[in-house]
Subunit: 146 residues, 4 copies
Amino acid sequence: MLTATKEIEVRYAETDQMGVVYHANYLIWMEIGRTSLIETMGFKYSDMEDEGVLAPVMDIIISYKSPVKYGDKVTVHTWMEHYDGLRTHYAYNIVLEDGTLAASGLSKHVCVKKESFRPVSVKKYFPAWHEACEKHKKQPEMQGSK
Amino acid sequence: MLTATKEIEVRYAETDQMGVVYHANYLIWMEIGRTSLIETMGFKYSDMEDEGVLAPVMDIIISYKSPVKYGDKVTVHTWMEHYDGLRTHYAYNIVLEDGTLAASGLSKHVCVKKESFRPVSVKKYFPAWHEACEKHKKQPEMQGSK
Amino acid sequence: MLTATKEIEVRYAETDQMGVVYHANYLIWMEIGRTSLIETMGFKYSDMEDEGVLAPVMDIIISYKSPVKYGDKVTVHTWMEHYDGLRTHYAYNIVLEDGTLAASGLSKHVCVKKESFRPVSVKKYFPAWHEACEKHKKQPEMQGSK
Amino acid sequence: MLTATKEIEVRYAETDQMGVVYHANYLIWMEIGRTSLIETMGFKYSDMEDEGVLAPVMDIIISYKSPVKYGDKVTVHTWMEHYDGLRTHYAYNIVLEDGTLAASGLSKHVCVKKESFRPVSVKKYFPAWHEACEKHKKQPEMQGSK
């Protein structure tokens, strides 16, 4: 399993009057982490869009563990939790500099055509991408291995 | 169970190059829905903050069902799915004008002190708020009712 | 001269750790005001985009006069300060409920083709829009009028 | 005159349906550039806030020259255009990788007390900061120098 690490400096604009980062901004960091993983695998998300295919978010699950403040740097650790040729699930840990887990999340995606928002087969449209996903995704653990 | 309805006009700034509303913005709409429910129950979230108590988001779950576009109006339906004196869970349906479900979500909150981020008892700090939550939250369904 | 008024409820997400609305968000409010003026004049900006014409911002000038807080409602007053068939300048006053001026701004726009970002003549592409702009823009004051 | 350079990778969330970066986001980049300049001068803006002093934006002027797209990297060049002990003006050039000027801007600030939003003398509160500003700001050109 391949894990990408991406450091992000917290922006002032990302805080709210609670004095910490506004919770919706973590989804933007998750996307930055996802982009980073894709690049680590040798691809660019913008190339996919240029070919008329989008990978919109279907579901998001996120747990906020520890607040993040202005002046902090966080590292987003991203890996492919699941890939089956149609659906891609990315998992994320957002970690503070001292190692504290700030948040953990999951996003589920399906590739669709830009014009129609209809699902497309990654295997058919992007065979090289399909290969890379199969290789780098979280592998099922062997049962009975010793 | 009390459900608040709040209409939101989609902002141009909320779209992205996919041509639809960027997914993180739905969390902002959920917050607007939550604020609306609290007002419908006769309270103001800003009053709570003025007394030094915050209600940060602990968890978010959201499913995106149908894209929302600039020019659309959505209605956020919000209700209190769960309340136990400490934790409050809000549920949301974001609905397009033609009745299509755009997204459904859930957010989990705990009240904390502004200075320490330590949990506080809603029942103790805000007895009137506690009463209202008990009254308006989703009630458990009766077993054996005919 | 036609002036549109649009009320906006401040969103929690719009605040920052300074405890007031983050300054970049006023530009979003200005856009909402602009959209409102266009609607008051009988048009929809999204219709223009559907025909392949965009009206990107060329310049922004904004002066922040008084901070805006969560819980506030502001009213954006928008009018067309200048229109010459090619360039459109909108002016804005953002006003608090007690009448205090929170900010005043100006935005300058040119219509361009979506594909090429090349300027287009409003008069040629949108004659009805041209007529309305000529009618509703700020008129030069008469000299020597008594 | 000291100029800070800060590279920024464009975020997907920063685009809008026009297919380019939404114009309000440039103000966030200007703030990142400003923070970078302050760090280059040996200070941290968050330290100033910790001491109860804020530096809110009074005025913004920005000219958009060339659109920025997702996948681009921009560099923000920031310098102190003016400083007189009370007011600080920062100037910005946002430049694309091929050297194209994407935007140029100016922001005007006054230091204020966090509690009252009343102006404070930088010279009195932050003498070291005052010294640095005097040293690194854009110096007036000599008249009659040969």
